[in-house]
């Protein structure tokens, strides 16, 4: 009996000693959409923060794809079960910005909690993309990428091309693709992920063509799509022509899930996709050497191509939690902005370094020299002076509008529509979606 009593009291003391610590730790839910290698890296960041202090605990949970995560967060918000932090992709930015009552703007969050906040430390294209009309950043930049071109150096060599000279223009890309096919080095010239983001939105930005009115939607909800201009039509027309010839292979709608295997299997020699595909490309190209290059452009349209625009996601703080939680969120965001954390994330994933300090740190470490091609993305997104057309795009319900663009692209590939008809239809249907969004948010 005595022994048992002693045991019990020891256990109680131990429990009491641990209790205050456990009770004081505030848990902060972080919903995200990063799977596989990216997900692991993200969890390392959370663990790193949790170990750096004992007051807060970030609990990351994977919620599926970007659209699924956004939908889950919105559904949770309606049921008052929302996480404190949610990762929302750039396409959802318009939707989140319009939901004024749901989000806790990050600049305000940082000020309310006395955490340092210096927007000028971020890369200019990133700040531009995520600021509201007054220039305030509403969400915490986390993973931003931009599309680049990957190419198979071995196939280039087999086709009798110089593996160190990737195509710079679309005309060069066409000739090289044809040579690759005709020499039998590979059955297809090129493929692409994200027809919407890479071959339409970025194409417009690089060639300084408007994607929508009112500064691509930055100017207000009355914006209309205008991506059925001559350059976009010419490009889609070419893609159709090249697809018929076999130079280009379509990788499927949305992210284009069939595109990467075509490149990994050495079926297509060139592959355009997010700079964040870098980790995957390197992992899957053990049998051949990969080269990296900026996206091609039409030299008869523009002599000095503009910057490309970003994709990826930011972290939004959602309303309706205790002040204590937001204190932790603010501290976590400060932790995230540290050059060491940013640089490690950027180097492991291929996402852009979000802050200038992280980029400088990478240069000091000699990372870009050791990993040729790893700075293509950042050079491409910071080149030249951004114009209203290359600052980015901001449209409500852009997820739906992108679906429409994918559908019209498929209708064109199937031969049911010409490039002009397909883009006209996409613009018309897209505008209907924009009007719906405007009506629901005014």
């Amino acid at each position: 009996m005595k022994k048992l009593g002693l045991l019990l009291s020891t256990a109680m003391i131990a429990a009491l000693a641990q209790a205050p610590q456990a009770a004081a730790q505030t848990e902060i839910a972080w919903w995200h959409a990063m799977d596989a290698e990216l997900g692991k890296k993200l969890e390392e960041i959370a663990t790193g923060f949790n170990e750096s202090q004992s007051e807060f605990k970030i609990v990351p949970s994977y919620k599926g794809t970007y659209p699924e995560t956004l939908t889950a967060a919105i559904a949770a918000f309606r049921a008052n079960e929302q996480p404190a932090i949610v990762q929302v992709f750039e396409v959802g930015t318009g939707t989140m910005m319009a939901a004024k009552g749901a989000v806790y703007p990050v600049y305000q969050l940082m000020a309310d909690n006395g955490e340092p906040w210096d927007p000028s430390g971020f890369l200019a294209p990133v700040t531009g993309y995520y600021s509201d009309v007054d220039g305030n950043i509403l969400s915490m930049p986390f993973n931003s990428s931009t599309p680049i071109m990957y190419y198979n150096k071995d196939v280039f060599e087999k086709a009798g091309l110089d593996p160190e000279t990737p195509p710079k223009t679309w005309a060069e890309l066409e000739t090289m693709s044809r040579q690759i096919m005709e020499s039998g080095a590979a059955p297809c010239g090129f493929t692409s992920g994200w027809i919407t983001w890479v071959q339409t939105e970025n194409l417009s930005a690089i060639h300084d063509q408007p994607f929508g009115t009112l500064d691509n939607g930055f100017g207000g909800l009355e914006t209309e799509f205008s991506f059925n201009g001559p350059v976009q039509v010419k490009h889609w027309d070419n893609l159709k022509k090249w697809a018929d010839e076999g130079l280009f292979q379509y990788g499927g709608p949305v992210g284009g899930g069939d595109a990467p295997p075509k490149f990994y299997a050495q079926e297509c020699a060139i592959y355009m996709n997010s700079s964040a595909s870098r980790a995957g490309v390197i992992n899957n190209s053990k049998e051949f050497e990969v080269g990296f290059a900026p996206l091609p452009y039409y030299d008869d349209v523009i002599t000095e191509p503009k910057n490309s625009i970003i994709g990826g996601a930011t972290l939004w703080a959602l309303n309706g939690k205790d002040p204590e939680v937001y204190k932790g969120v603010a501290q976590f965001f400060t932790y995230l902005s540290q050059p060491e954390v940013q640089a490690a994330w950027h180097q492991a994933t291929g996402y852009l370094p979000i802050t200038n300090a992280a980029y400088d740190l990478g240069q000091e470490q000699g990372y870009y020299e050791q990993n040729p091609g790893s700075d293509i993305a950042i050079q491409q997104i910071t080149r030249g002076t951004p114009t209203a057309n290359s600052k980015g795009v901001r449209f409500g319900n852009l997820t739906q509008a992108r679906t429409v663009v994918d559908e019209e692209f498929e209708a064109m590939l199937a031969g049911n529509k010409t490039a002009q008809e397909a883009l006209d239809a996409a613009v018309e249907r897209g505008n209907q979606i924009l009007r719906d969004f405007q009506a629901a948010n005014q």
Binding site: A99, P253, K262, A265, Q400, D406, E407, E410, L413
Partner: protein
């Protein structure tokens, strides 16, 4: 009615016993259905801050939208094809198994297997086999000169989901047909045989008419299945693409509501579907349960 009538001594007890079932029905079926009816008359932003009552605007927009109307016809093509394909194949299989004397149990077991496979797994399976990049089927089709690409070609995509959905439903139909065939009186068939009717004649004049109740029941069940229960298959194979070529009514409810966050329109579509289900069920009860008799 052969069932025994139970008389409860206490009048409250039967109601008490019904409460759990009624509660489940109310909370999980009636309440969400009413919610859908309510939001089908509203326009709302995704987060639910602003709700405007818009009368029949969502319905009006739906029925003037050429894409919605084409979804209706796509669904009809899909439902009719799946029903016809899976029912005819399973009838052939059932008749064949019924003729095999010794190993029919083995065949029955094997043929029922696909029914145990989850719809998403079925979708992935066919998606994998028919994947234009890595699939075995397009590779073999190319050898005989057919270019298969359901990523681009809407007809290919429709064929793909019809095959996948039918494949899964064959087992179910097969089981009912086997049971139906076994209840056909052997004496009638023998009498016909003595009168000189060949196997074909016997099937069409005796077996098939006697199977009518089973066939009619399966017809309704299959249409229901193809229209409402194939979400997983479509989501895992074509996601409604290319260019909405395989977008069925149910899938559109999902894409508009859950991906597009257009809750008003999505609810209106759900209500339309609800009306179709009610109509189909009413037909089943009125005609299948009462009219068709031996």
């Amino acid at each position: 009615m052969q069932a025994k009538r139970t008389v409860f001594p206490n009048k409250g007890l039967p109601y008490l016993l019904l409460v759990p079932q009624l509660a489940v029905t109310l909370i999980f079926f009636i309440w969400p259905a009413l919610q859908a009816v309510k939001s089908s008359f509203e326009r709302e932003d995704p987060f639910g801050f602003k709700t405007t009552f818009v009368w029949f605007e969502n319905y009006r927009r739906l029925f003037i939208d050429p894409l919605y109307l084409s979804t209706v016809s796509k669904t009809a093509i899909f439902a009719v094809s799946v029903t016809a394909l899976s029912m005819s194949l399973s009838l052939i299989l059932a008749v064949a198994v019924n003729r095999v004397l010794r190993t029919n149990r083995l065949y029955t077991t094997l043929l029922v297997w696909p029914y145990a496979v989850a719809p998403v797994v079925v979708g992935i399976l066919w998606w994998f086999m028919f994947n234009p990049t890595i699939g075995i089927a397009p590779y073999m089709l190319r050898a005989v000169g057919i270019s298969w690409n359901h990523r681009v070609d809407g007809v290919d995509a429709m064929v793909l989901i019809i095959i996948a959905a039918s494949w899964k439903q064959i087992s179910y139909n097969f089981l009912f047909f086997v049971a139906g065939l076994q209840s056909v009186p052997q004496s009638l068939i023998e009498a016909a045989a003595i009168d000189g009717a060949g196997p074909f004649k016997r099937f069409w004049t005796i077996v098939f008419p006697l199977l009518a109740p089973t066939t009619f029941f399966l017809l309704i069940v299959n249409i229901n299945y193809a229209m409402f229960d194939t979400f997983g298959i479509i989501d895992a194979t074509t996601q409604g693409g290319p260019a909405q070529a395989t977008n069925t009514l149910v899938y559109k409810v999902y894409t508009d509501g859950f991906i597009g966050l257009n809750i008003g329109s999505s609810s209106a579509q759900s209500v339309v579907l609800m009306i179709i289900v009610i109509a189909l069920t009413a037909i089943q009860f009125r005609y299948v349960e009462r009219r068709i008799q031996y």
